[in-house]
Amino acid sequence: MTRSDSSLKPLFGWAAGLAALILLPFVINTYIILLTTEVMIMGIFALSFNLLFGYTGLLSFGHAAFFGMGGYVTAYLLSHACPSLTLAFLTGVAGASLTAIVVGYLSVKLDEIYFAILTLGFGMMFFSLAHQWRSVTGGSDGLTGLVVPRLGWGAFSVDISSPWHYYYLVVAAFLLTVWILRRITQSNFGLILVSIRENKERAAFTGINIRAYRLASFSIAGFFAGVAGGLFAVFDRMASPSMLHWTTSAQPVLMTVLGGAHTFFGPVVGSILFFFIEHIITKFTDIWMIYLGAILIPLVIFFPEGVLGTLLGLKKRKHG
């Protein structure tokens, strides 16, 4: 009895979350719908980053490269009369994944700060490219004027230019990402990643090919960052160089630490907090980073496991 109880419990959580996401549009206004859509897109971005940071122990400061690549390729195709949204989006994700494989191949042999700086350098290389290769990327203006075709085929197609329709598309992508990444982190492969994070030398002595596993983790993270980037470009109807800038790479880092890097849903909680804080503060002033910084500093000092990590830790202690 108790056993079936404990195995059903998480299922309730999932069902409640799913129901909330589906029913949300019936109770809130368009603005919150747009905000929630953005939170989920950035949640995908942050979750993808955390596979690398929280699970594999690699702090990348260039994750925006894949976010931006997914966004730029998707936006390029959509602004050049690509008839299919799915095709444009998948090409964007493929572009991001290929970029991640190449950048990852070169980067994963470095550690800690050197890895962070090298990925930052690669990210800024793509930023410079987007800035200066005007004929393809539109330079500092970015790619604008995206034509978003209907999703699907003939009678079975929807117009996703409505915020509600796009919201449901992003909900689907978000849930799919959560499910896949959850499966990955709970698999043997995920456990090996954690062992690499915990002790690289010991993992290597047990016969694990560290570089191959790190590269795999880096590529998967790049794939999902590309998903987030493609979704974001369609959401924003544009791709701009700021998508590739290192300050964009810093966003998933902040969200992850805010929520907790060693919990699966930490980055999502961080993404919600991030936008919640921004939303409240920008009501009063445009200059909101100062408050974000002022919240972040004590949080990092006193809650090293993040908001979700600390809460879960308390719960665990209470129950035994």
Binding site: L120, G121, M125, Q132, I287, G293, I301
Partner: protein, 286 residues
């Protein structure tokens, strides 16, 4: 030919400025093990303080004295209140905390001085140009060009020849051992951070007659100084000097010969060096 020479001077004077800023970054890393993301913002703060002092007192030299000191005091406070609690933890925590400081400082600057750009004129003594072999060159850039190596030699002598310099080098090699032989490591760390941020503030103040002062100047310079210290070798003095000169020259000549690639060049250089020599050109030797 004169254009080539011009670019050489431009590149070197930019390199000297980068050296001044990077050396602070590399000293802090070498001793405390902290890669300070807020270093560029402290540089920017030095520039703004200098601008403010000049418009208050109308004296550049006085401003040059005051503003780095104010920045350094702030640096000392940051080290004691924010960094000290997390020395035992993973490096990513320190990176994130200094990133938090960056967010606060950058927006504080916007709050106080607005988003517009400001300029400061060079002091009367260094205003004007010199005529050399048929072309003109601003005196102030030459002043920076001479100051860089001077500060480099001064720092080298400080670390090699004075007791404090030796204590700092000892603590950077082994924190616990240094504490064991009676060095007050906490105070030393605060002192080093104070000094490192003083150098950042000094760089900012000295840069005011050369570069426009604006709220994004810190964001740009921090990445440039990261590149400098990493390609030279983190924690290495001669490395920072070499890295700064290389980056300064690349910027100057790149703008002349490869204008479409200037932005990407420093990152390409960074990637090439990290991939061939992962610890930088000159390995650490504090």
């Amino acid at each position: 030919m004169s254009l080539f020479f011009m670019n050489l001077l431009n590149g070197l004077s930019l390199g000297m400025l980068l050296f001044l800023i990077s050396i602070g970054l590399t000293i802090i890393f070498g001793v405390l093990g902290v890669l300070n993301f807020a270093h560029g913002s402290l540089y920017m703060l030095g520039a703004y303080f200098c601008f403010q002092s000049v418009s208050l007192f109308h004296n550049f030299w006085l401003a040059l004295l005051i503003s780095p000191l104010l920045v350094a005091v702030l640096g000392g406070i940051i080290e004691m209140s924010i960094l000290r609690p997390v020395y035992g933890r993973d490096v990513s925590f320190q990176l994130l905390l200094t990133f938090g400081v960056l967010l606060v400082l950058d927006d504080a600057v916007r709050l106080i001085w607005g988003s517009g750009y400001h300029i400061v004129n060079p002091p009367a003594l260094l205003n004007g140009v010199v005529h050399v072999a048929g072309f003109t060159y601003p005196v102030y850039s030459l002043f920076i060009l001479g100051l860089g190596p001077l500060i480099g030699v001064g720092l080298w002598a400080f670390f090699r020849l004075t007791l404090w310099g030796k204590k700092i080098r000892a603590a950077s090699m082994d924190r616990e051992m240094a504490a064991g032989i009676g060095i007050n490591v906490n105070r030393l760390f605060t002192g080093v951070f104070f000094f490192g941020t003083w150098l950042a503030g000094m760089g900012g103040a000295l840069a005011t007659p050369l570069r426009a002062i604006g709220p994004s100047m810190g964001e740009k310079i921090i990445i440039e100084s990261f590149i400098v210290v990493v390609i030279g070798g983190l924690g290495s003095f001669p490395g920072a000097f070499l890295g700064a000169i290389i980056l300064g020259l690349i910027n100057a000549y790149g703008a002349e010969y490869l204008p479409r690639m200037t932005m990407a060049l420093p990152y390409i250089l960074l990637a090439l060096i990290l991939l061939t020599k992962p610890r930088g050109l000159l390995a650490r030797e504090v």
